[in-house]
């Protein structure tokens, strides 16, 4: 068994980051950052500009070295064994990085050669990428003459031409039009379905919410939260927030405060026809509460648990501080 395979079997986490510290002069860009990405997971790495996302990703891509801590990809330390880590990692920075006077096929062929692929495997890797990316019609087009969206697509092809187990994508959909963004998102979903571990940063949080299994929120170089969106919300707000909408305003607020499990009622909305309240209980208790409200004669149009989106969560966690 190869050393790579042995190293990868040892741990369930594909990407492990332990106490990374990276300082530039007096600025601590990354401050004891630690988190893990399990095999086959997609982790969204979010944070304001200057939070330390790109620095962390560059360290993972072995383009930078932390002053303290370490990161391992497939069990290989990016500090001690950068060559091995590179072999199983694909990195796509926040720019396409294309060559002049080079066709799409030649561009991919060059990176396949540079990753050590030879002969038949090289040719089939390039053909496979062209097919997967759906860029067969563009194979003989000069890569620098393509639109930004297509260049990003080719750049993603470059990052996966050696079939890496882990992918690090820094703002891959930045500056793309909506159509290109949707297509790009579909590609990432396919890669995730293919079992690749993906660490992805983006400013478009709604997109991340659709793609990612977990998220890590970073600000001022420090990780503020990691986990699924629900887990993080649970951590921030241990009680459910329920919302009820009535056909006409009534005395529901007083009624709710008398019910077991209702902790507090927020301000009434929509001229008193809608109320939000905090509730301490599970699904059974929630159903029982609804029954009691309707039994009391309140004309309920809507009754649901308020789920916070990734954007809400992001705004709540981060203070918007930029280093």
């Amino acid at each position: 068994m190869s050393a790579t395979a042995e190293a990868m079997i040892e741990s369930d986490a594909m990407i492990e980051i332990d106490g990374l510290v990276r300082q530039f002069g007096s600025l601590r860009a990354v401050d004891k950052v630690s988190f893990r990405v399990q095999r086959g997971q997609v982790l969204g790495f979010i944070g304001p500009n200057g939070a330390g996302k790109t620095t962390t990703m560059r360290i993972l891509a072995t383009l930078d070295v932390p002053q303290e801590g370490d990161a391992r990809i497939g069990g290989f330390s990016v500090v001690r064994n950068p060559e091995e880590a590179r072999r199983i990692t694909g990195f796509m920075p926040d720019y396409a990085g294309v060559y002049a006077s080079t066709t799409v096929a030649e561009y991919l062929d060059f990176f396949a050669r540079s990753q050590g692929l030879r002969g038949g495997p090289r040719r089939s890797a390039v053909e496979g990428i062209i097919e997967f990316m759906g860029i067969g019609d563009l194979r003989d087009r000069q890569v620098d003459s393509l639109s930004k969206g297509l260049q990003q697509r080719v750049a993603l092809g470059r990052a996966i031409v050696h079939n890496p187990a882990a992918l690090i994508l820094d703002e891959p959909a930045a500056n793309l039009d909506p159509r290109a963004r949707i297509e790009f998102r579909a590609l990432i979903r396919e890669l995730a379905a293919d079992g690749k571990t993906i660490l992805l940063s983006s400013h478009i949080l709604t997109e991340l919410a659709e793609i990612c299994d977990t998220i890590a929120v970073i600000e001022k170089g420090a990780i503020l939260a990691t986990g699924t969106v629900d887990e993080i919300l649970q951590g921030m707000r241990p009680h459910r927030v329920l919302s009820v909408r009535l056909a006409s305003a009534g005395e529901l607020e007083r009624f709710l405060l008398e019910q077991p499990g209702v902790l507090s009622v927020h301000d009434s909305l929509d001229s008193g026809t809608r109320l939000e309240f905090e509730f301490d209980g599970g699904d059974i208790e929630q159903a029982a509460l609804l029954q009691r409200i309707t039994a009391a004669g309140f004309p309920v149009l809507e009754f649901r648990a308020e789920g916070a989106g990734l954007e809400d969560l992001f705004m709540k966690i981060t203070a918007g501080n930029v280093q």
Partner: protein, 518 residues
């Protein structure tokens, strides 16, 4: 038919796996670039014009037409080899940096050295294509007579080698320019340099210099006299001198080209990936090569027939090796004393090699030890070659000045302002102290006290290394050599203190990542 063609293309594609990926990529790019197509078309046009003029000349009865065609074709190739190809190399790396594609290559399995060599080899392919375009006209010069095949082949080989050297130099310059502004400034300086060289005497001086430098064989065969390099190394024009000159120039070209490649590799490698050992070995080889030339020269060349006299040999050696030492001391004494974390974690030589390779390894003041080791070699060779005790003391003073001006300012800045002790500030400190040392004696001369104001050579002049070394005879006559040697001792002490400082920094434990697979 189509399948056999595909089969051939497939086999060629497989064969291309043996080449560096960089060569394959660069050659693909080069053949599509307008610059290359223009260069190729222009060189063909120039070759055709020269051949036509030569043919006309032969028809009029000229016997030297073949030699003339050859000479002018070589001028054309010189421009291609020493101007067009090197600028292309500079631009290739510059574009890679500006388009930020270099990081992408660094993420692959290609190490920086293979990247640099690949870029130079790609220019080699470009040069060979351009040379091949001129080949039919070269054959014409041979057929018209007046030049033999050996001269043609030798001249083309020498030109090709020096063209690659120029490409390596431009690649190094391009790799040293980390920002767009610096790279632009370097291009401007290169452009001005070429203009000055071509502008000198309407290009005559440049052509003369290049001709003397590159085509000693041609010079010998057709112009009878010795080129400046022949004069310098062999002093005359015998066959043994020609071959000696060629051997010296070729080894110099190859060794310095290797070092330029290693320097470029160092500039391109990530900051944390210390690649100094190979470079130090290369620079030491260059240093030893110069000493070996000087020592071997009397054995190869007949006495009075181009061999160095003891004094010439001594001062030539001191000139070349001293210059290299100065440059090395300037950069190595001011480098980071602390090894990067990755280097420290990976720097685990076996016990067997630890002692043997100590001065080649990074950090811990080893760079200063490396400079001192070379200084020791130079002093030992100088002791063997020095014609008189005064010459040897001159060499000691030379080394002393190197130690003093690189060691003392560096040590003082590191001691008094450690936060400012970055390579840039330290190098500035060295240059400023040197400037002050050179200007102060002259200022004292004119604004100082009346006593001794107009003394032609006073103690204060020892501050100026150029004045002191230039007037060493006067200096010894006035018994001022001992203060100079004392300055050298102070420099040596500063070096020792820097080594101690560096060792202290590197004994602090580096935070090691947790042991894990790999």
């Amino acid at each position: 038919m189509a399948s056999s063609l595909e089969g051939i293309l497939g086999r060629l594609d497989d064969a291309s796996d043996r080449l560096s990926p960089i060569v394959v990529k660069e050659v693909r790019q080069i053949v599509r670039q307008r610059g290359f197509l223009y260069s190729f078309a222009l060189s063909l046009l120039a070759g055709l014009t020269i051949a036509l003029l030569g043919g006309t000349s032969t028809a009029r009865g000229s016997l030297s037409a073949g030699a003339d065609i050859f000479t002018y074709l070589m001028y054309c190739l010189t421009i291609v080899g020493l101007v067009v190809a090197p600028i292309g190399t500079f631009m290739a790396l510059r574009n890679e940096r500006l388009e930020r594609t270099f990081d992408l290559i660094m993420l692959t399995t290609l190490p920086p050295r293979r990247i640099v060599i690949g870029k130079i080899l790609a220019q080699g392919v470009k040069l060979l294509t351009l040379f091949a375009g001129i080949a039919p006209f070269m054959a014409m010069s041979f057929l018209l007579g007046g030049v033999d095949l050996a001269t043609i082949l030798l001249s083309l080989t020498v030109l090709f080698l020096w063209s690659l050297w120029a490409c390596a130099m431009c690649l190094f310059l391009s790799s040293a320019a980390k920002t767009r502004a610096v790279s632009g400034a370097m291009m401007a300086v290169m452009g001005i340099g070429y203009l000055i060289l071509f502008g000198m005497g309407s290009g005559g001086a440049f052509i003369y210099m290049i001709r003397g430098l590159l085509y000693p064989g041609m010079y010998y065969g057709y112009y009878g006299g010795g080129s400046m390099w022949i004069s310098m190394f062999a002093g005359g024009g015998s066959a043994s001198q020609i071959w000696w000159t060629l051997a010296v120039m070729t080894t110099f070209c190859l060794v310095t080209m290797t070092n330029l490649i290693l320097l470029a590799e160092n500039c391109l490698a990530l900051e944390d990936e210390d690649r100094t050992p190979a470079l130090r070995v290369g620079l030491l080889a260059q240093f030893l090569m110069v000493i070996a030339w000087i020592l071997i020269s009397p054995l190869i060349l007949p006495a009075g027939g181009g061999a160095f006299s003891a004094s010439e040999g001594f001062y030539t050696m001191c000139g070349f090796c001293g210059f290299q030492l100065m440059v090395e001391a300037f950069f190595m004494s001011t480098g980071n004393l602390e090894m990067s974390r990755r280097t420290r974690l990976r720097d685990r030589p076996t016990r067997l090699f630890r002692g043997l390779t100590v001065i080649f390894r990074p950090g811990g003041g080893r760079a200063i030890g490396y400079v001192l080791a070379q200084m020791g070699i130079l002093i030992a060779a100088g002791a063997a070659l020095a014609p008189a005790g005064r010459d040897f003391r001159w060499l000691l003073a030379f080394c002393g000045y190197i130690c003093f001006f690189s060691g003392v300012p560096t040590y003082l800045v590191r001691l008094l302002a450690p936060k400012r002790a970055t390579p840039g500030w330290l190098r500035l400190a060295i240059l400023v102290s040197l400037l002050i040392a050179m200007v102060t004696p002259e200022l004292v001369q004119y604004f100082g006290s009346a006593a001794g104001r107009f003394e032609p050579y006073a103690l204060r002049h020892i501050l100026n290394p150029l004045a002191a070394l230039g007037e060493w005879e006067i200096l010894e006559r006035t018994s001022h050599e001992w203060p100079v040697l004392a300055m050298g001792a102070a420099g040596l002490l500063a070096y020792v203190r820097l080594i101690v400082m560096a060792r202290r920094k590197n004994v602090q434990p580096v935070s090691a990542p947790a042991a894990h697979a790999g």
